[in-house]
Symmetry: C2
Subunit: 317 residues, 2 copies
Amino acid sequence: MQYSIGIDIGGTNSVMGIVDKMGNILFEAELITKDYEHLEGFVDASYDELFPQIVKLGKNNFKGIGIGAPNGNYYNGTIEFAPNLRWKGVLPLAKLFSDKFGLETTVTNDANAAAIGEMMHGAAKGMNDFIMVTLGTGVGSGFVANGKMIYGHDGFAGELGHVIAVRDGRLCGCGRKGCLETYTSATGIVRTANEFLETKSTSSLLRSVANITSKDIYDAAVQGDFLALEIFQFTGKILGQSLADAVAITSPEAIILFGGLAQAGKYIFEPTHKYMEENLLKIYQGKVKLLPSELRESDAAILGAASLIWNTDKVLV
Amino acid sequence: MQYSIGIDIGGTNSVMGIVDKMGNILFEAELITKDYEHLEGFVDASYDELFPQIVKLGKNNFKGIGIGAPNGNYYNGTIEFAPNLRWKGVLPLAKLFSDKFGLETTVTNDANAAAIGEMMHGAAKGMNDFIMVTLGTGVGSGFVANGKMIYGHDGFAGELGHVIAVRDGRLCGCGRKGCLETYTSATGIVRTANEFLETKSTSSLLRSVANITSKDIYDAAVQGDFLALEIFQFTGKILGQSLADAVAITSPEAIILFGGLAQAGKYIFEPTHKYMEENLLKIYQGKVKLLPSELRESDAAILGAASLIWNTDKVLV
């Protein structure tokens, strides 16, 4: 039996697992990304989690390590200027892992990895043209066209979270203004909640919550809280508008929503779908499915990252 | 020798030609698209232009007809709801041509055809990832990723002219508001000129021109007319902003500008490049070339359309 390791590095948490060729996850571990000041410390901690298991299964049976990371570069194995990570600048992620583990390592954007996971094992099975949108700490995306992941000329394609959703809008971690992720990520919806609470006089369950989280907004919406529902409407409107523009570029069969905010179900899907349809060019109306991911969040990321190893057609680091 | 026919249907003019496999155009003709109330009349007129030449070269030597048309659908050979054409609804373009000529016919978006022409014979030779943007009566685009044209799930991918450049902006022929093509097409820049002339008090050579055209604005800019230069700045800003968003999706090696407005050279390229760079996410800055087409406008369209015949991998109508 051959195995690969899939690692998903997120702004808040990172998950990693050992995967066989059929997509079974044999071992899983989690690290709090933010706890590691330096990438090297994170690599060491990953090694401590994984290496005992690697030894148990036999290191020779391991084909490599696939990593999905924010601003992960498929072509050269680096992460570069990732706005949601503590680790700044250009860092040789693949090299650090391959040196430490003695295993070939390949890297891509975390959202691209999730898209590959969804294509191999989830809601995008059999699709040649789809968009994966991850609504987590930030907003990521993976675009698949003609059955292939779009990495782009430099390996950084698919940054839907950084298209400008609102011209001169909210300040983003990337230094620009109005990026989609400042509105439709887990942190973005919290910004909206705080804004609405300040500027509107509507009574709301959220008024009694200190340090509101996206989960609080969801819980309030479930209880029929008017302001919470308005917050989801606003978030879905901005997401739907940006998705309509993305459809005009790649015309996908489906858009798959994934990540924390996508777990709000109808509260985010209904307004997003409504405003996407309203904003679509006529030729696209009624054609594009808006689907929830069919994989557990951590699974998709691990499976996607691991599948980089089975499917990669580039020279590994 | 084998030949194919390339036809480019534009909102104003249409060009057609007979092309050999090396990309030589052996015969060219032009029709005024707007003169034909019905598509059938246009097919008949095309036949009258081309058929004598087809007979001369031997009909058996012809491999087929490739057509680039606004909202042309690669998969089913139709044009559907093209906002810049007089011919409304869903029309069986490929079938009408193949019935009339007795030659297999394949159709795509006019901008996709131009992109293929540029990839085979022009500025995008050897590129795997680029965007072709046509700035004509409308704004069209063709996205190439991983060396392949992105047709999308329904055959209509690449409508960059209909991403929303200005939320709730100018009314577009497609019925929505703020589409890129209402600002950065030949007609869009004229709207800007008329707006600026009305709302600004700056003196300008354009004030003495009745029924301003994009050519008039260019001529005034060449003479250093301040308002004309402002009009180009404004147009380049809107185009640059939208291109920056498109880069975040497919991360191309180059963006190639083509069509009437692109012929304004530095007057449109300089502000577009400046505002594109200003609006790019850091990881893309300084990486994306902004290039003029290397083919004569009519050639790119004819060659691209014709190459659909040499390179098509779908069942022809």
